[in-house]
């Protein structure tokens, strides 16, 4: 469900490989994301370009994982969002808590400046 694509000194770029993220896989998604944070202890740049459908359960898992990342003084950065998923995140104002970039390279550049 989440595959490491690239790793730098401060970050891990991880691809979400599913197209539908909903109630049926949100727990597993959170488990894998938390495991990535524990194993790498780096900022996760999460590439969501494969995702076409998300629901509130997935967004809840994402927020819960972000809280865990922050507790480790890390972060989860989102990239590659389809327009409608970005609009959904903005609709409930989660763009105020997630750093969102169009591309992984852009996020990588920003993370290296943190």
């Amino acid at each position: 469900m989440i595959t490491v694509n690239n790793e730098g000194p401060k970050f891990v770029i991880a691809d979400v490989t599913i197209t539908e993220a909903n109630l049926s896989n949100s727990d597993q998604f959170k488990t894998e994301l938390v495991r990535l944070l524990d194993e790498h202890k780096k900022i996760i740049i999460l590439d969501l370009q494969e995702l076409k459908y998300v629901d509130s359960a997935f967004l809840g898992a994402l927020v819960s994982s972000l809280k865990y990342a922050i507790s480790l003084k890390l972060d989860i950065v989102l990239v590659g969002l389809r327009n409608d998923i970005r609009d959904l995140i903005k609709l409930i104002r989660l763009d105020k808590v997630f750093k969102i970039y169009n591309y992984a390279e852009e996020a990588q550049f920003a993370v290296n400046k943190f």
Binding site: L23, D55, S56, G60, I70, L88, L91, I92, R93, V97
Partner: protein, 179 residues
């Protein structure tokens, strides 16, 4: 509201595997019935997130019975109605209704991003309303809530209500989008 121009009835079996197929089927019907003067992209985006959340709600709460969807297109609006015989929404339980006599509005969840209210229009009929928080900077994430279903539908719609019918034990969510 004028006479209904188009109506689609759809039964969902509350299976997560059928969520996307059911969503696409209903969206295709809506796409074919949006008036030319309306912002089709906006209506389809809102319909997508609303129906996704209603399907998810069916999977979570409807139990073994099917969930029924009705989509009605009027000249001035779209109505999406979802009915099931599952567990009633906790807000119709006496303990969760407003404590003060004469009050009908209660804050049901809030963080610095959004506040979500339930407004009892009668004992078993609730309308939802949301307000944006006033804090516009990057927020401490620890304070952000993690349950977004009702909030997403409330923020996407022009009217969102829940009705529990004591006689039939049915739950009906009704969402209206104005063109």
């Amino acid at each position: 509201m004028q006479n209904c121009a188009e109506k689609l009835c759809f039964e969902f079996n509350n299976s997560a595997e059928r969520l996307v197929g059911s969503l696409e089927y209903m969206l295709e019907h809506i796409a074919g019935n949006i008036p030319a003067r309306a912002d089709a992209e906006d209506i389809l985006f809102k319909s997508k997130v609303i129906i996704t959340e209603l399907l998810t709600n069916g999977i979570k709460h409807a139990g073994n019975n099917n969930t029924s969807f009705e989509i009605e297109t009027y000249p001035d609006c779209l109505v999406i109605r979802k009915t099931d015989l599952g567990t009633p929404l906790y807000l119709v339980e006496p303990d969760h209704q407003p404590a003060m006599a004469g009050e009908n509005k209660k804050l049901i969840s809030a963080d610095m991003l959004n506040s979500l209210y339930a407004i009892w229009e009668s004992e078993n009929h609730i309308r939802f309303a949301s307000e944006e928080g006033t804090f516009d900077e990057v927020l401490p994430v620890e304070q952000v809530m993690e349950h977004f279903g009702i909030l997403i539908i409330t923020c996407s719609s022009d009217e969102f209500t829940y009705t529990y019918d004591k006689h039939t034990h049915s739950n009906t969510f009704r969402v209206q989008l104005i063109f």
